[in-house]
C-alpha cells in the first residue's frame, strides 16, 4: 500500500489532487483540517496492481521452484517416497514454472489416463474391488451418466453374496428404468452377457466385494471375467494406506484390470493411496467419484484435474473471511 497526504484550500481541490496523482483507484483513508491553515488535508491510499502478486511471492519464498511445490504437495498427500521422487524429477524436467502445470506434466509422464466411455463400448465393464468401496454406486452412476446421454444401458449383478446387495442396485436401476439382470456364477453371467449382444450400447456388471488377498476369491472373480469376456475395472476407495492400496491393485491387475476407478474422494484428504495403487499396479486412472449421490459426482480424471486436486489454488483475497469469523465468535 502507498500512503500519501494532500493539502489544499478546499475539499474539492484536495480530492482533485488525489485523483491526478494517484488515479481513480485510490481510496481516501483520512480527512482533517490542515494544521494552522484553513485548508483541508486528505490522506489517500493506493494499492498497486502488483501488490497481491508481491505478497503471494513472499508467501511462496520457501518453495523456491515449482518442483519443490510439487514435492510439498506429494508429501502432504502421503505419496510414498520413491514414487514422489520420480514425480518430482518429472516435474523438474518439465521446466514449467507453475506448480499445478508442472505437477500435471509429472502425472502425464508417470501415469496413464483412460476414461470409461459414456456412449458405447464393445466389451462389458465389470467393476471389481474389495467390499464396501462403492462398486454398486459406481455402477449406478455410470449407468445414469449414459442413460442421460440417451444410451441403451444393461446392468447385470453377480453380487448375490451380500444381503440386500441386489435390492440396493435394483432401487437405482428402477429409477433409470433399466431391468436389473441377476447372474449366479460364471456360466449364468456368460448367458446374461450373451443375451445383451447387439442390443445395448453399454453393459455394466456389478460384482461381489472380494478379498484381494485370498486366492479363492481372486480365482472366483477370474472365472467370472473369463466366462463372459468382460473388462474388469478395479474400484478402490481413496484414503487407504498407500502400500495396502498398491498391493490390492496388483491383485486386480492379475485378473486383467487395466483401469482404476477411485471412489470417496469427497471423504478423503490425501491421494497417496490412489497414486500408489495406480503406479504399483500399472493401472490407468479413469474416473473418480466424489459424491454419495448417484446423479452427480462422477468425473473423468486427467493429469491436469488430478494436479488441481493435489495443489489447490489459494482462495482469492477478496473473500471477507475475517469478518465472518469475528461475527461467529
Amino acid at each position: 500500500m502507498r500512503l500519501k497526504s494532500f493539502t489544499a484550500p478546499t475539499m474539492a481541490e484536495a480530492m482533485e489532487m488525489v485523483r491526478v496523482e494517484l488515479g481513480d483507484e485510490a481510496i481516501i483513508v483520512s480527512t482533517q483540517r490542515a494544521a494552522g491553515t484553513k485548508g483541508v488535508r486528505i490522506t489517500a491510499a493506493l494499492e498497486p496492481e502488483d501488490a497481491d502478486l508481491a505478497v503471494a511471492e513472499l508467501l511462496q519464498e520457501d518453495t523456491s521452484s515449482a518442483a519443490e511445490a510439487v514435492r510439498e504437495a506429494l508429501a502432504k498427500h502421503s505419496v510414498p517416497q520413491r514414487l514422489a521422487e520420480r514425480l518430482v524429477n518429472a516435474a523438474r524436467t518439465s521446466g514449467l514454472a507453475d506448480p499445478v502445470m508442472a505437477c500435471a506434466a509429472a502425472f502425464e509422464a508417470g501415469f496413464t489416463f483412460a476414461h470409461l466411455p459414456e456412449h458405447s463400448a464393445p466389451r462389458p465393464f465389470m467393476l471389481v474391488g474389495p467390499p464396501g468401496v462403492g462398486k454398486s454406486i459406481a455402477v449406478a452412476k455410470l449407468a445414469a451418466r449414459s442413460v442421460l446421454k440417451q444410451r441403451q444401458v444393461a446392468v447385470i449383478t453377480c453380487d448375490n453374496i451380500r444381503a440386500g446387495a441386489t435390492e440396493q442396485l435394483a432401487a437405482f436401476t428402477k429409477i433409470l428404468e433399466i431391468d436389473l439382470v441377476k447372474a449366479r456364477g460364471p456360466e449364468s453371467l456368460r448367458r446374461a452377457v450373451e443375451a445383451t449382444a447387439g442390443m445395448f450400447d453399454l453393459v455394466l456388471i456389478d460384482s461381489p466385494g472380494i478379498n484381494p488377498f485370498k486366492q479363492t476369491d481372486i480365482d472366483f472373480l477370474q472365472s467370472l471375467v473369463e466366462a463372459a469376456d468382460v473388462e474388469p475395472v478395479a474400484v478402490l476407495a481413496a484414503g487407504s494406506d498407500p502400500a495396502e492400496a498398491g498391493e490390492m491393485a496388483e491383485a486386480f491387475t492379475g485378473i486383467g484390470a487395466s483401469r482404476l476407478f477411485m471412489t470417496r474422494l469427497d471423504t478423503t484428504r490425501r491421494l497417496g493411496g490412489m497414486l500408489s495403487a495406480a503406479a504399483d499396479a500399472q493401472l490407468a486412472l479413469c474416473d473418480v467419484s466424489a459424491s454419495p449421490h448417484v446423479a452427480s459426482g462422477i468425473s473423468p480424471i486427467s493429469a491436469l484435474s488430478l494436479a488441481r486436486l493435489m495443489i489447490p489454488t489459494p482462495a482469492p483475497i477478496s473473500e471477507p473471511h475475517w469478518t465472518d469469523e469475528a461475527e461467529a465468535s
Binding site: 500500500m1 491510499a45 508467501l59 520457501d62 442421460l148 446423479a295 484435474s305 483475497i317 473471511h321 469475528a326
Partner: protein, 265 residues
Amino acid sequence: MTLVPESPTLAPPPAHRVKGRNVVAVASGKGGVGKTWFAITMTHAIARAGRKALLFDGDLGLANVDIQLGLMPKTDLGSVVAGRLTLNQALVPFPSGGFDIIAGRSGSGTLANIPISRLQMLGDDLALLANSYDKVVVDLGAGVEKTVRLLAQNAGVVMVVTTDEPTALTDAYAFIKVTHMERPGTDMRVVVNMANSTREGERIYNTLLKACEGFLKISPPLAGVIRRDLKVRDAIRNQTPILTRSPNSEAAADVEAIVERLLKK
C-alpha cells in the same frame, strides 16, 4: 434428474485450530513503534490483574525484553534452540512484575537464522507450555519474515502495534495483509501507540481500518490507543516496567484498559 459435470473435489481441509488460544502475539511490521515495551507492559498488567502470565521474547533477531527489564538471565531461548534446555527450563521468574519470562538471548547471538522446522517445534512447545498460564504474550520481531509469521500463527490474538507515522501505518498494513493472505480468519487487533490524544489515536486507527476495508475487505478492531507519555521513556531508561515506576501514568492506564478488555472475553 440432471447430471452436472462438476470438477471433483477432495474433502475440505481441516479447519485451522490455533494451538495457543491464550497466546497473544504482539506484532508491528515496522520496528521502533514500542512493540517490546507494549508486550512487557501488557504482560505486567495481566499479572497485576491476578492472572498467571508469561512473556516470551520471540524477537529472534534482536531480542531485548531482558534489556528493557534490566535482567541478566542465565538461561535463554538460545540454549533451547541448541537443545541444551527444554522450553520450561528456560523460564526465568520476574518477581517484581509477578510474571515469568523466556528471554530471547543472553550473549548466545542471534536466533534469526533458526531453521523453520525447529521454529515449528518451538511453537508447539510454547503452545503446550501455555496450558499452565492464563495468558502468554509473545513479543514478535518486526517485519513479515517467515519466522515472525510462524510465531504469529500460533497465537489466538495478534495485536498489531502502529503509530501515526506513515511508514508505521503502511508496515502495519503490510503485516495485516500478509497474515490475512496466509491465514484468513486470524484474530488481529490494532494498537495505536504514542498518540497525541485518544481521539487522534482513533483517527489513526480509522486510517488503517479504511485501507484494510478498502483493499482487504476485513475490519480488524481497535484494541486501544496508548497516549504519548514521557514517563514511558523515563521507565525504559531506568530499565524498570512502567507499571512499577509510574503506575498512574496515562500510558500505563491505557495499557491496563487494553488488558481489561482482553481479559473480559
